[in-house]
């Protein structure tokens, strides 16, 4: 970012001197540099890899416990360029996560809006909703597999179950935080229920829903992969189990790396959606330097 003022009439002092904002300090400049993590992240990763390599070399660990980084890297390249891995595993998990998320959005946002708007409904429904959350959800996987089989459906349900709660909580909290004055404004304008919802409640709640989405996308990924670990025929979780059984430890690391990239990509899409959907919100506005 540059600080030069390119507007036609830059402010000037009485003596005609061009006035500029004070130059940013060294730490401000660093903090405001949008590429900062593009420098620091590779650096930290390089340090980590170096430590890993040194540890393997010094302790002379077995390849079946901890392979050296270059072995993991070459397996990773091999895996990521393998169309079978894409078609069978990555695609399956992606499908499960997306379907799970879609289900969770419909249910979580829908129920969240209802609960937030109606205290009566809240009091009736909340014990059951909390009930679904205090049960250790992993324990339900065998049940889902029993009901829905080893295919993707049981994982979709698992992903939805995990992603549902943060969406519900954030949505209901958001719609409840709509200021009373906003309601008063809509009342004075004789808004119908529908107009009130579309013009005030929903836009106000949007940042909360998107905050819920950030959690939900991570939860849905966990749900799908755990489901696959415990009883799947395809998907990244199943892939990892296969590699473990075959003692292909370097590829197992590669699979974990793929999962990490997978999660990171989905998360980035959500944060990207924030900029698109709520460009007005403080969380996406450039930070004012203090």
């Amino acid at each position: 970012m540059t600080t030069t003022d390119q507007r036609p009439s830059a402010p000037t002092s009485p003596s005609g001197q061009l006035l500029r904002p004070p130059p940013p300090t060294w730490s401000q400049r660093l903090r405001n540099n949008r590429w900062l993590s593009f420098y620091t992240s590779p650096l930290l990763i390089a340090l980590f890899l170096l430590a890993w390599k040194l540890y393997v070399e010094i302790t002379d660990l077995s390849r079946f416990v901890l392979p050296p980084p270059e072995a993991v890297f070459s397996s990773f390249i091999e895996q990521i360029t393998d169309p079978f891995v894409w078609q069978t595993h990555i695609w399956t998990t992606f499908y499960e996560v997306m379907m799970g998320l879609a289900l969770a959005i419909v249910l979580g946002v829908g129920l969240g809006l209802l609960i937030g708007k109606s205290p009566l409904f809240d009091r009736i429904a909340r014990p059951f909703i909390v009930g679904t959350q205090v049960v250790p959800k992993v324990a339900l996987v065998p049940l889902f597999i029993l009901w829905l089989g080893f295919g993707p459906s049981s994982k979709v349900v698992m992903a939805a179950l995990l992603a549902f709660f943060p969406l519900l909580i954030n949505t209901s909290f958001g719609i409840r935080s709509v200021p009373g004055s906003m309601h008063d404004l809509m009342t004075t304008l004789k808004a119908s229920r529908w107009e009130r919802f579309w013009r005030a409640d929903l836009p106000y709640t949007m940042p909360f829903i998107l905050a819920g989405m950030e959690l939900a996308v991570v939860q849905a990924t966990i749900g799908a992969i755990v489901g696959e670990y415990l009883g799947g025929d395809k998907g990244l979780g199943r892939y990892a189990v296969n590699l473990q059984n075959g003692l292909q430890v370097d590829k197992l690391f590669g699979a974990i790396l793929i999962m990490a990239l997978f999660g990171f990509t989905l998360y980035s899409i959500v944060t990207g959606a924030r900029r698109l959907l709520i460009p007005w919100h403080e969380s996406v506005q450039p930070r004012r330097t203090p």
Binding site: D184, L189, P203, W280
Partner: protein
């Protein structure tokens, strides 16, 4: 002809611990078409409650409020203009879109709307702010935008609840001058709430002083200072005389517990 008739209005709120609390007791008031009425009184005396009842945001426990539309019945279903203590702009809408809100809801076409929004923003002295977001504006600017919004759909009645309460003294003076100008141009019926005596005298045709415990009408004062009034006039003998008298009355109605002094 009276535009607003408040008839024997009392308001009871359910207070803490199941007790009920009488906020307004038997308030009756006639407000003429095009009149500028200020509700003045110490804080907690029920000014906001009365204004909200007039604006139909709250219903009276006893009594009623009638809005008379005279020979213009089409005004009956047109919303009032309400300016709240806080600007209450929608942070996701630009300034122009905020002003356009009542127009959109009235079903006005896009082109007509844009024109009206420009006109309103010019009226409040912010023609260049159309595409800014509310958080890019100062407090005074935001409140002006909310006045533009309240006036956009051309309501006959404008209700204002301490709209300049959060502004510094200079900005407030300037806003009072602006508001008077806007009112002189449009001649809306205005009910304006404040606890500032000088603001009341500067703006009002008539000052309705409310007393506490329970809220009731203590006195009504006509202000006959010529218009347009200027800040210089606040130094005149007549202005000072009026404010002194009203301050004395506020001292009377203020309940005996120590409350922070009413500001000028």
């Amino acid at each position: 002809m009276s535009a607003i008739k408040v008839e024997g209005v009392s308001k009871v709120f359910a207070g803490a611990g199941g007790q009920s609390m009488l906020a307004l007791s038997d308030v009756s008031l006639d407000i003429a078409d095009g009149e500028f009425v200020v509700l003045l009184g110490p804080s907690g005396c029920g000014k906001t409650t009365l204004l909200r009842i007039i604006g139909q945001l709250e219903s009276p426990t006893v009594g009623r409020v009638r809005l008379d539309h005279g020979d213009r019945p089409e005004r009956a279903d047109r919303p009032l203009g309400f300016v709240f203590q806080e600007a209450t702009l929608m942070p996701w809408r630009t300034t122009g879109a905020n002003v356009a809100l009542p127009l959109e809801m009235a079903g006005m076409g896009r082109r007509e709307r844009t024109e009206k929004v420009r006109e309103m923003l010019t009226l409040v002295g912010l023609p260049e702010a159309e595409n800014k977001l509310p958080h890019q504006l100062s407090g005074g600017m935001r409140q002006r935008v909310s006045i533009a919004r309240a006036l956009a759909h051309d309501p006959q009645v404008l209700l204002m609840d301490e709209p300049f309460g959060a502004l510094d003294a200079q900005t407030r003076d300037m806003m009072n001058v602006e508001l008077q100008r806007i009112w002189l141009e449009n001649r809306k019926t205005v009910v304006f709430v404040t606890h500032s005596v000088s603001e009341a005298v500067f703006l009002a045709d008539r000052i309705v002083m409310l007393g506490t415990k329970p809220g009731h009408i203590h006195s009504i004062t006509e202000v006959t200072l010529p218009r347009p009034r200027t800040i210089d006039m606040t130094e005149s003998a007549e202005f000072r005389h009026l404010t002194a008298e009203l301050r004395r009355q506020i001292g009377e109605v203020q309940d005996t517990e120590a409350r922070p002094a009413v500001s000028a």
